[in-house]
Symmetry: C2
């Protein structure tokens, strides 16, 4: 039954979301080598999709085998700029039309809180403080980004994704604002509050 393992191949779509994202970037900004693609991804879609350089190289290999991308001549350090092919463009369109997979949300800080009865309140406040700083920064970034986008050129699809980021950060901020009243045992002052 060893050859039966082939049956798993067709059980999933031809493209995973990461590969699709890479095709999308190559389609929008032209030929790139692995490293540049990775850095562009960080900037352009990193807020809702993470991918590391290693992933990029692995998917590049796959996409090249599928002839969804093709490489130009080798540059320094055997780097090659890949460009999307017609088949790749079609594959991307197919992926887009197939509809997105479910989102993945993993928030370790909620685990920390869920099981947080065992943490010293002071330490928990500290953890939440760091979380708040990080997200305040991100929030500011989104606000600024939205302002920039409305003045200069504007791809409405890009604007829509940035808007999501801002609303998400706003929700986090609201949650943080409410937390002290939800967790009085963590936030209450040692002094009496009458």
């Amino acid at each position: 039954m060893d050859e039966g393992t082939l049956s798993t191949v067709d059980s999933q779509g031809p493209l995973n979301s990461t590969a699709a994202a890479m095709l999308g970037l190559l389609a929008q900004i032209g030929p790139l080598n692995g490293n540049s693609l990775s850095r562009c991804a960080d900037v352009l879609i990193g807020d809702y999709w993470t991918l590391t350089r290693s992933q990029v190289y692995r998917e590049l290999q796959t996409l090249e085998e599928l002839e969804y991308i093709e490489a130009g001549p080798a540059g320094p350090r055997s780097s090659r700029d890949f460009s999307i092919t017609d088949r790749g463009t079609q594959a991307l369109r197919d992926w887009l039309n197939a509809g997105p997979a479910d989102e993945v949300i993993r928030m370790p800080i909620l685990l920390t809180i869920r099981f947080g009865a065992d943490i010293e309140p002071e330490r928990l406040r500290e953890i939440l403080g760091e979380f708040e700083v990080r997200h305040r920064t991100k929030r500011g970034f989104y606000v600024e980004l939205e302002a920039d986008m409305q003045t200069s050129r504007n791809d409405p699809f890009e604007i829509a994704t940035v808007r999501f980021g801002r609303l998400f950060e706003a929700a986090i901020n609201e949650w943080l604002t409410e937390l002290p009243s939800l967790l009085p045992s963590v936030f209450k002052e040692p002094t009496s509050e009458e």
Copy 2:
């Protein structure tokens, strides 16, 4: 340099977030076998942490080797109920105090939109519609859950995590509400709107 691979062992904390979540559950609700633990996790922390049964079994093995959990007598289908040990309790406390890892947010639907200029507007509306339905359901679930919790027994730490879920869903809803004005080319009626 083969034995050098050992050096990777200490480069990370002893516990990953999934293992910590499992310890937390065992600590809160008592001995469970792999399958029950998996189902409890779905219900209790599934909104911000996913883990599959396969992961659970793999981590159970690891945690047993570390003596963070121990098994009771074998039941049907060689199932064993695991309970947390004192060392496990300490390991959980250590993990909690170490502070949470960064959150992981992966939203394929934002990729779809970011590269969505190539989709038929009708299809994109359809995709967004399905997304909306799914999240409307979740939103209702959270609202109901919060109401329940305020009447009956209430672990404030649990309430805090549920509150996050509701705010997150509210943000998604707000985003969906704004989308038509952000993406007029997708949502505009074919008829004149004068």
